[in-house]
């Protein structure tokens, strides 16, 4: 039953702030993910929460207890590292027993808890193995068992799957989510992998250059990115510079003029006519439509196909619309119909798009 709060934490290395006034809250029993590119400060943030790094400013609370000054061994946390950190000179059993012995558990209880922990991660019977005899995925499971055995108040994961091959990574991420549901523990998870974050999180903090860009559920972040960084980091996006022509507050729709096109987009409060905005259109939200389908779409534009690339799951079209290249992804069985369409005139329709205010530069 632990709520974790980080208030205004800052950590500078020389003049550079690796973590710059980050505020974070993980509600009790929730799965919170810190998502961002490498070097954005997410791991540093996690290590500050663990107590492995002492922040220059800010405070960490577990429930209402200020733990900022406590060393990691007095915070009752579990930390799963990016690279396997099982002690190489101890077998699986001793590795799991380590944390319990530090807590002066009686011997019978240690044995029972080792069994329990191995059961949770589906690794019964591996007690006597040495870490060098385990595969990457097995070792990471044992590591999770090792931290679970100590019954920590919170679990922290620092890119635990990044050194594991793709197939197993997929399996293990659901495994971690399952363990979180089964144990009901508060977990904070760091990753640079958006798909991983989306699959397992209740709440995601998108972090860039030491600051929080946006907080939200996976759907929030996907549908309504509020900064250009989030819009380009999460999934892929087409960006168009635009200006608000008029607003319809009753249905919350804005009309935006952009490079000779007029686009209708939903908006939230705080927009005014003539504001500069960035229009974000996801490639998967645009369809190639027939003349007769015009009325099904709030936005319809015409363009010429520049290029089409088939990548198995989808076919990506680059369509030139009045000099601007729009990326369009075609899913489903239709993807085979657009293999050789270079130079073809197409009609594009889309209903969903989002507006980003306060930024006029298209992110790289």
């Amino acid at each position: 039953m632990t709520r974790v709060r980080a208030i205004n934490i800052t950590k500078r290395y020389e003049a550079v702030a690796a973590v710059n006034r980050i505020n974070l809250e993980a509600e009790d029993g929730k799965f919170v993910t810190l998502l961002g590119p490498s070097g954005c400060g997410k791991s540093t943030t996690l290590k500050i929460i663990a107590g492995l790094i002492y922040p220059d400013e800010g405070e960490i609370y577990f429930n209402d207890r200020n733990v900022t000054e406590l060393p990691p061994n007095r915070r009752n946390i579990g930390f799963v590292f990016q690279r396997i950190a099982l002690f190489p000179h101890m077998n699986v059993q001793k590795n799991i027993a380590f944390g319990l012995r530090m807590r002066h558990c009686p011997k019978e209880e240690i044995e029972r808890k080792i069994k329990e922990a191995l059961y949770i991660v589906h690794m019964e019977g591996f007690e006597k193995r040495m870490p060098s005899q385990l595969s990457g995925g097995q070792a990471q499971r044992i590591e999770i068992a090792r931290v679970l055995a100590t019954d920590p108040d919170i679990l922290l994961f620092d890119e635990p799957l990044s050194n594991i091959d793709a197939k197993l990574r997929d399996e293990l991420k659901y495994e971690i989510r399952r363990i979180q549901r089964d144990t009901g523990k508060t977990m904070i998870y760091v990753t640079h992998d958006q798909a991983e974050a989306f699959a397992i999180s209740d709440k995601i903090y998108v972090i860039n250059a030491g600051s929080v860009e946006q907080i939200g559920t996976p759907v929030d972040l996907y549908v309504n990115p509020v900064t250009p960084f989030v819009a380009s980091f999460i999934g892929s996006n087409n960006f168009l510079k635009g200006r608000i022509l008029d607003l319809n507050p009753s249905i919350k729709m804005a009309r935006v003029s952009s490079d000779g096109m007029e686009i209708e987009a939903p908006y939230s409060n705080g927009l005014h006519v003539n504001d500069q905005v960035l229009v974000c259109i996801r490639p998967e939200d645009v369809s190639v439509i027939g003349e007769g389908e015009r009325n099904k779409y709030s936005n319809v534009v015409q363009g010429t196909v520049d290029d089409s690339v088939f990548s198995g799951l989808l076919t990506r079209l680059n369509v030139n619309v009045k000099g601007i290249i729009l990326k369009i992804d075609i899913h489903g069985s239709d993807r085979f119909s657009y293999l050789n369409v270079k130079g073809k005139e197409v009609l594009l329709g889309f209903n969903r798009c989002s507006l980003i205010t306060g930024a006029t530069e298209i992110p790289a």
């Binding site: 060393p71 061994n73 590292f81 002690f87 944390g99 931290v147």
Partner: protein
């Protein structure tokens, strides 16, 4: 010449080179060994005999014992000082770290005679320190500390901090982490330091020559030296030299057999 003959020639040349190298390096040892078992007979011929070994046993063994004791105390002191120092030099940044390291390193580049003279001056005339057994231990502990420091630093550099971080997060205190995780993992590195300290302090001669001073404490190398001066290169002296060499050789071979060269990396430079 086809490729096969050419490769045969290169291989032979390589082997020849190795044999010459080994000969150059091993010849003195072999000559000493042969000399120690060749005893001149009254009729002028030379016969094989191990008599010289039984002859030296009585008076040479106590000297070896002294050398071993000095080496062991040196190792103990250097390990206790060296491990924490190496930890600090590897894991923490502090002002003057490089200068401190250079200073510690510097001892190594002082000629043995100068170092010994400096110690005699300091110990005997300044501190009025008794130049016996403990004088040797103190001198070697200072002189060879750098070896322990360097090997432990190599070991600490190879030890990813994540193991210690993991131990801390699992609830171990700093001391517990050090004793249960750090120390077992750098163990082989420490043994490399122990090996080098042993070999060098056991065989050290120049400093010993000056330090032996008024106490007349004789280490094994000193005994060999004074016997050469007194008796010339007799078979008993050769036997003493052979025993001395064999001890180091056995220790090194056993070490390489069980631990390997991994932790001697970076120390080879010296």
């Amino acid at each position: 010449m086809n490729r096969k003959t050419r490769s045969l020639l290169t291989t032979s040349a390589a082997y020849l080179y190795l044999i010459i190298c080994c000969a150059v390096l091993l010849l003195p040892f072999i000559v000493t060994l042969v000399r120690s078992v060749s005893v001149a007979q009254p009729d002028g011929s030379v016969a094989f005999s191990l008599a010289s070994y039984s002859e030296i046993y009585k008076q040479f063994w106590p000297k070896i014992n002294t050398s071993l004791e000095i080496a062991l105390f040196t190792i103990a002191i250097d390990t206790i000082i060296g491990i924490p120092a190496a930890y600090a030099l590897t894991r923490y940044e502090f002002r003057g770290k490089k200068s401190l390291f250079a200073l510690l390193n510097g001892v190594w580049y002082v000629p043995g005679v100068c170092y010994a003279m400096a110690l005699v001056l300091a110990y005997y005339f300044v501190y009025k320190f008794f130049l016996g057994f403990w004088g040797f231990v103190a001198a070697y502990s200072c002189g060879f500390l750098f070896l322990m420091l360097l090997t432990c630093m190599v070991a600490f550099r190879h030890l990813d901090p994540r193991y210690e971080e993991a131990a801390l997060c699992l609830g171990a205190g700093r001391l517990g982490t050090f004793l249960r995780v750090t120390l077992p993992l750098i163990g082989p590195g420490v043994t490399a330091g122990i090996l080098l300290t042993f070999v060098l302090s056991f065989n050290e001669f120049i400093t010993a020559l000056l330090l032996t001073g008024p106490t007349r404490l004789k280490t094994a190398p000193l005994a060999v030296y004074s016997d050469i001066r007194m008796f010339g290169v007799r078979e008993t002296v050769a036997a003493e030299a052979t025993v001395l060499q064999l001890i180091s050789l056995v220790v090194v071979v056993v070490y390489l057999k069980f631990i390997g060269t991994r932790y001697l990396r970076g120390v080879i430079l010296i």
